[in-house]
Symmetry: C2
């Protein structure tokens, strides 16, 4: 059976998707989905575990308190006896990051939301910065001497490494997010292109203004003086 | 005396600069100059004062060591007996921020360098995040109990406030820098405009590809089946 007539406006056969483009596109969608999952999972972790160290204990039911108690058996000295500097990070998590999590979850599950770029860069840098002193403390602090931890904390290097591995995803995922926002062609700013198109532009000349160079200015000045 | 003949290519009288535009432009140049000054001044402060707490003391001549000694008389417990978490920030200042300072100095003194936008956002968020635990420690830490500070530190609320005021410019300047990069029309990304021009675009359709909608797909599917 011969094919029926197809309107000429339809290209036949339909162009196969550009393989080179579909690869990065698939990667972008996959990464967006994983990031959506990360932000979604962060909401209960922040609300139910992290914030127990700064919010009144009565807010949490016994089962959740036990959950934190169970986790502290892994000798996490920061959640057991949170020092002031760590509490300040938890406070930031409550005030700045928690409201951002549902927004980021929506943006990454929906996909292709360019407006998430700058907030995501800010979130990733903030989170990575908080993780630097946390990981340094796990690796280098002398817990036997630091009175704030009341002698609690990892005793062996293996226990230190375990705590590092627990927190490491919260350093690596923001790092991936930052690189994704800075390197992915879709999220990357178009500024470079714009600068290349206008190499001399420094923003001084706006629509409706007349760009006057030094030679023109000199001529105009001579003209004004001669006309007085 | 009549004015001499002016080439017709020159608009006469020359358009007065747009007052509304000149105001923000002057503000931008002023702010860029101040930011250049901030980054320039940060280079010796970082090299000669901050890094004394993490680099070997022998690297510094006696006069500079005395300078830090003089400053610690203001009861700055963090520079006197730097705890691990604070040292990790100083290490970041050495590795990431110090190489950035000359670049930022150049960019802001030159002015109109759009490429500084993203690095400046990253720098400002990183610095503000480090200042949160530092300021919290000055305000809330119980220095008499915290053994890491060996009993040294501010005793009165006035002394605490003094230390806060010393560090506060390193929180406020990055905050101004962040707002400047996000709000100034020159540095602000053009993404919004681009999105408005292509509201349905999610990056799937690239040059040379044929955008096929659901109705076209349905027709093509019917055609393929009928031709088998």
């Amino acid at each position: 059976m011969w094919p029926r007539r197809v309107p000429s406006s339809i290209v036949w056969p339909p162009a196969l998707p550009n393989r080179w483009m579909m690869g990065p596109l698939g990667t972008r969608h996959g990464l967006e989905w994983l990031l959506g999952l990360y932000f979604l999972s962060h909401i209960p972790i922040t609300l139910l575990v992290d914030l127990q160290a700064v919010l009144p204990r009565d807010l949490y039911p016994v089962k959740l308190r036990n959950l934190q108690q169970w986790y502290t058996e892994f000798k996490d000295p920061l959640l057991q006896n949170a020092p002031v500097w760590f509490k300040s990070f938890l406070f930031c998590e409550l005030v700045f990051q928690l409201p951002f999590f549902p927004v980021a979850t929506y943006a990454f599950f929906k996909g292709g939301c360019r407006w998430i770029c700058t907030p995501a860069i800010i979130y990733s840098v903030q989170t990575m910065t908080t993780l630097i002193p946390i990981l340094s403390t796990f690796l280098l602090e002398d817990f036997s001497k630091a009175s704030v931890f009341r002698g609690q904390g990892p005793k062996t290097f293996h226990e230190r490494l375990f705590l590092v591995s627990v927190y490491m995803p919260y350093f690596l995922t923001p790092l991936i997010l930052l690189l994704f926002m800075l390197q992915n062609p879709y999220y990357k700013s178009e500024e470079k292109k714009m600068r290349k198109n206008n190499p001399g532009s420094r923003g001084e000349v706006t629509t409706g203004q007349f760009p006057v160079g030094p030679s023109t200015r000199k001529m105009l000045r001579a003209h004004v003086f001669s006309s007085i």
